[in-house]
Symmetry: C2
Subunit: 362 residues, 2 copies
């Protein structure tokens, strides 16, 4: 068990933005809320999966809704806590710990806030090891967890519980419609999971991974070293491209930010062309027309000079970027997982998943 | 207590369509489902408000969603029952009886089906005495009932409960979004009400009223008498106009069927012009530009020859109609009620509610 201080939370926010692979929302506001909890004298305690008893009751929490709304809509601050409490009331049992749906983006912060408010620890793990757009795209759902009853709470006092669902996809559909009705975003909590299940099904160590990534960026900037090199070295990441954004197409389709990004290479990629397919997250990278990385592997678009993540909503013409590929966790590469989070699940029908190898030359 | 036979159910369906004032959906499919329950050997038992013990637990049920979807989407058949059962499970107590949200339109039938399936009686009363488009426009909500926890169930096995709501309007908003996510329609059930509360807040005798209206229509057609005269005589209705539809504007706006209908008078209205404002229901009637009836009073558009209701979705150019006004129940005319279901609540800002008087010459 360890206790996070403000500096740790700052680093986690930076690292979680990187793990967001363009999506998942910016963790900045969540970071402020989390640090606010510390100022109130509350603690963010972290336990590893190993430290978790097999019979622990662990609830996954996070925001649901468009990240853009999440930035502009003022939160009441206890949305996820209320969703968790609705489940406690329904099941008649207290939760022992909180876990993140996704460590990528702003949903890295929500569980820490809830944990601090409830006085219980947050688990150093998550259900995606990155960000994905839908609630059912977690290793929890993929490896057999039934999310219902799942609770959704807003800033006004509305609380809804999906008590039974025909499938995990239906929890996502009804939950998302609820969040939209609640004003575009809501706090959510799904049926508790056991410690034993999480040891098998959660992506381990991702809170620490985010923290180390964030510290690498801060460290490199302080020492005027190359942050992209540091990220690749730390995580076995592979430098896919460096270039300038010369074309950007973004459109809102069916609630998703879809589009395509074109980069003109410089440095070692001079004369080359990079292309990235976007659906909330960066899903596919092509160099000179050849696919070099595809979802569920992580495609990071970083500011070339600072190493900070560039999320899809702040992309713009002329930005100088480094594109880095990170191999995803093995739990995301199984046949069951690829059915839910592989290229075909995102409508990329003509590309089969080929695992990105670690730290090979680009 | 009385038991309904197939003929009674047929009459109720005809009368409920008339009480729907153009909206509420066509009760025809509900009637078939209800009669199907009888064929299975189940009973539809009706109790009056007087017969209901003060401490009876009564649940209001009905479909929520666009009536158009309700016609085309095949039901599993136990949606409202499942919604009711979710509340029973949540509150740990069995329901003693079922009541309709609205007696106008197809939601007159749903409680009878649920009552037959659950083996409990249906109350001869409802929360509207007609049809209105939204769940919070009931005398239950107007006179202080808190609808949460409210349950919504679909044909696929999905069940959602709005456990807490900031207001009755929020139950409607979240419930409707849920119904849309569930495919456009769902069965719903709101928190149980006591017999004592319903004696004060429900519109009494409306199931019997629908039955008598339907029987009047059937009777008149059998005897070649004028059905519109019979309806007016039975209910203290006022003949507002007879004419032919010469113009019809209908558009779907914000989930509502809005529009305006123009009639060219014949018979005693020869040379006159009638106009009706539509928002799912018929809200306002003008003769030669002068308002003669307005919501919450009932404006019926009937087939001139058969006396059957013409609902907004089947209006068409050239139809010969009788327009009849029925005074609404006093519970709909109080200042509290008019705030929720008066003209201003439907965006008719320039017309103050003036009660329609009974059976005056047109």
């Amino acid at each position: 068990m360890r206790i996070l201080d403000e500096a740790a939370i700052e680093a986690i926010a930076i690292g979680a933005a990187i793990l967001g692979t363009g999506g998942g929302g910016n963790p900045y506001i969540g970071r402020l809320r989390c640090q606010q909890e510390l100022k109130r004298g509350r603690q963010v305690r972290v336990v590893t999966l190993d430290e978790l008893p097999d019979d622990a009751r662990v609830v996954a929490v996070g925001g649901i809704g468009a990240p853009v709304v999440g930035i502009e809509k003022i939160r009441q601050g206890e949305e996820c806590l209320r969703a968790m409490q609705a489940l406690e009331q329904l099941t008649g049992a207290k939760m022992d710990a909180v876990i993140a749906f996704e460590m990528g983006g702003s949903n890295s912060m929500a569980p820490m806030v809830t944990a601090a408010q409830a006085g219980i620890p947050v688990v150093d793990a998550d259900g995606m090891g990155r960000a994905f757009p839908e609630l059912d795209m977690t290793t929890f759902s993929i490896y057999g967890h039934v999310s219902a009853p799942a609770a959704f709470a807003d800033d006004k006092g509305n609380v809804t519980v999906v008590q039974a669902a025909a499938s995990e996809k239906w929890v996502e559909r009804i939950g998302r419609a609820t969040a939209i009705a609640m004003g575009g975003s809501a706090g959510s909590a799904i049926a508790p999971m056991s410690g034993a299940f999480l040891k098998r099904a959660a992506v381990p160590g991702t809170l620490t991974q985010a923290q180390l990534l964030g510290e690498a960026v801060l460290h490199a900037n302080r020492l005027h070293q190359n942050p992209v090199d540091m990220i690749c070295a730390r995580e076995g990441g592979r430098r896919l491209f460096e270039g300038k954004i010369v074309d950007l197409q973004r459109r809102l389709e069916g609630g998703f930010a879809r589009g395509e990004l074109t980069l003109e290479g410089f440095g070692q990629n001079t004369g080359e062309r990079g292309e990235i397919v976007i659906q909330n997250e960066f899903l596919l990278f092509r160099r000179n027309g050849v696919v070099e990385a595809v979802v569920p592997d992580l495609i990071l678009v970083l500011d070339h000079d600072t190493g900070h993540a560039i999320t899809t909503e702040v992309l713009r013409y002329g930005q100088r970027c480094a594109v880095v590929g990170l191999p995803c966790h093995p739990l995301l590469r199984t046949p069951e997982a690829l059915q839910v989070i592989g290229p075909a699940a995102f409508g990329i029908a003509d590309v089969a998943y080929r695992p990105l190898s670690s730290s090979q030359p680009g």
